[in-house]
């Protein structure tokens, strides 16, 4: 194992973490402001990817597709909020889990209805194709670097939005005292719809970015959704800072685990077996990390004000 390889893997972990952050940010924002647990967040991710793929195929431009993914996911989010989610704010988490579980079934089958059963084609735009040579001589895909950059921009953008704008002020107010901002005359229903659509747009953006790198198919949101939940639970539900750190921790742990564990087990077992056992433990690793963190800090690393 060389230093260059280890560095490349670290970068891979970082990039996975950034991808997870894009998902987790919306999820944790929605929970922070509305106290809602949204299992259908992965479906909005899928909506973004499908919208991007369909529009990119139609127009021939990934970038128009990317914009379409934001619009489609935000629109889907707003509609879902108006029709369904709105009725769930006063319910307990059980009802929220169930209703959004039902939404997953509908979104998945509905998408298949519209787009058919085969995965869609979505490729990386020409501008971001290929690999660059990093200091130290390793080659690294441009697109993955672009994802890291996009994640950083989103993180900064969210920070600015929440700390500097009027909307952000209302969001913060909503997080600390829900009744109060209603009493102060802020239209809380509109605020909730806007926040939900914002979270959905973030998920859709992540879906489009990742869809170009992976595959655009029905059910693509579910594995990411569970990882995103792990992230926000580790970080402390409702905390954007927690989501960012949680995402990076999960990304790096998962990547390094998959890379290092088989090699560690190779000291004790023949290579084929070490690969299997190492792979098995690696796939459980982030859940183990999560259990340990929650055992020590039951409300995550950065507990939000309520929750």
């Amino acid at each position: 194992m060389t230093v260059a390889l280890a560095l490349e893997q670290l970068l891979n972990g970082l990039q996975l973490g950034v991808m997870l952050f894009l998902m987790a940010a919306g999820l944790t924002l929605i929970f922070g402001v509305m106290g809602l647990i949204n299992l259908a967040h992965g479906s909005l991710y899928m909506v973004g990817a499908f919208a991007c793929a369909a529009v990119a195929a139609w127009t021939g431009s990934f970038w128009i597709g990317l914009i379409a993914s934001l619009v489609a996911a935000a629109a889907a989010g707003a509609i879902v909020e108006l029709v369904v989610i709105r009725r769930l704010y006063d319910r307990d988490h059980l009802d929220q889990v169930l209703a959004t579980f039902a939404l997953i079934l509908m979104f998945s089958e509905g998408t298949r209805w519209l787009f058919g059963s085969f995965p869609l084609y979505l490729d990386i735009p020409p501008l971001l194709q290929g690999a660059v040579t990093l200091p130290g001589g390793t080659q690294y895909p441009v697109y993955r670097l672009a994802i890291i950059a996009a994640g950083a921009i989103v993180a900064i953008g969210l920070y600015m939005l929440i700390s500097k704008t009027r909307l952000g002020m209302r969001i913060r107010a909503g997080e600390s005292d829900r009744e109060m901002i209603g009493a102060l005359g802020v239209d809380i229903r509109t605020l909730y719809t806007v926040v939900f659509a914002l979270g959905a747009a973030l998920a859709g953006f992540a879906g489009a970015m990742v869809g170009a790198l992976q595959s655009v198919q029905v059910g693509m949101g579910e594995p990411v959704l569970i990882l995103a939940f792990v992230v926000i639970v580790i970080g402390g539900i409702g905390s954007i800072k927690g989501a960012l750190l949680g995402a990076l921790l999960v990304g790096v742990t998962d990547t390094m685990g998959r890379f290092l564990l088989p090699q560690i087990f190779a000291f004790f077992a023949p290579p084929a077996q070490a690969g299997m056992i190492g792979g098995a433990v690696a796939s459980m690793l982030i859940y183990i990390v999560m259990a340990v963190i929650l055992a020590v800090k039951p409300r995550g690393l950065f507990p939000a004000a309520h929750a």
Partner: protein
């Protein structure tokens, strides 16, 4: 007899009558369907102990369901092949032995998961139980000894003294009796001092603590018992399908178990049975009508959660008593 008891009684009789009628009509498949209802109802009754009485929304009960299934599968495989299991112990194809092992192991796993998970609450509890179930799921998928993702086939159903288990009706009767015992146990626990403490801890934790009861211990005990019952159902489920695989451990399974309870009516004695019957009927009927059945299943669920909060029993038997 109040209205809810009457509805419960009718449900229990119906579940018994349908398979006999189907069997006589030469439609043994409906016996299998009824068996599925009984087993899922038992699993959900187990979960209902934690969720309905204790207010513990476990999103990881598939772990216990799957453990029960794997106990049945692994013991049966070893009995079939004659290879010793652990410490020279051999496998078995006797259901009652399998049940005891399944209940014990599920209970132990429940204690372990509960001990850590119950330190958290609310959404954190939902998510940490999910995480533990995912851990068990990935372990089962990647552990090669017992089939991994492919799962384990049990060629012949396990034995029960005096019953022809391969006959659909015989196996149904076993499951039906076990379900009734499970529901009876649920009723006993709900009425017991322990059950009262468990429900009180859900309603007002502080008050329970001030009268000198530790909510943590009460909940942990409740969680473990809940795991045991779901584990037992898992063992039966493996025997029903003559097959066990990691999909019994998947998070979709955990979600389905919650769905059953809410469909039937949360916290009610016969809620899980009503929910399981409804769910299996939907799945079967919709699957026959359209390829898009999952879409309509989702739609129905959504409507129930949004507009019919008491579930099926709420509709049939009126409001739940506050207990």
């Amino acid at each position: 007899m109040n209205r809810e008891n009457l509805v419960n009684f009718i449900l229990a009789v119906l579940l018994l009558a349908v398979p006999f009628a189907a069997n006589m009509a030469g439609q043994p498949f409906y016996v299998t369907l009824a068996t599925r209802v009984a087993i899922l109802a038992l699993a959900a009754t187990g979960l209902n102990l934690a969720l309905g009485l204790g207010g513990l929304v476990s999103f990881g009960h598939a772990a216990f369901f799957g453990i029960g299934g794997y106990v049945a599968g692994i013991l049966a495989t070893h009995s079939f092949s004659g290879e010793p299991l652990l410490f020279g112990l051999s496998g078995t194809n006797q259901m009652w032995v399998i049940w005891i092992v399944a209940v014990l192991l599920a209970g132990l796993l429940g204690l372990a998961i509960g001990a850590i998970s119950l330190r958290t609450s609310g959404v954190y509890f939902i998510m940490i139980t999910l995480a533990f179930a995912q851990m068990v799921y990935y372990f089962a998928v990647s552990w090669p000894a017992y089939g991994g993702e492919d799962g384990l086939s049990i060629l012949v159903r396990n034995q029960f003294p005096g019953v022809m288990t391969m006959r659909p009706l015989g196996f149904f009767l076993i499951c039906y009796v076990v379900l009734l015992v499970g529901i009876g146990l649920f009723a006993l626990i709900r009425a017991s001092r322990f059950g009262n403490a468990l429900q009180a801890a859900r309603q007002n934790e502080v008050r329970v603590a001030t009268v000198g009861i530790q909510p943590y211990r009460i909940r942990l005990t409740g969680f473990a018992i809940s795991a045991m019952m779901t584990g037992l159902a898992g063992a039966l489920f493996a025997d029903l399908n003559r097959f066990v695989s990691p999909s019994m451990l998947s998070w979709h399974m955990s979600g389905e178990l919650i769905v059953l309870i809410v469909l039937g009516g949360t916290g009610r004695l016969f809620g899980p049975l009503a929910g399981a019957a409804l769910y299996v009927a939907f799945e079967y009927a919709l699957g026959g009508i359209t390829e898009r059945w999952q879409f309509f299943l989702g739609l129905i669920l959504l409507v129930v959660v949004l507009f019919a909060r008491g579930g099926l029993l709420g509709l049939l038997a009126g409001k739940a008593r506050h207990g």
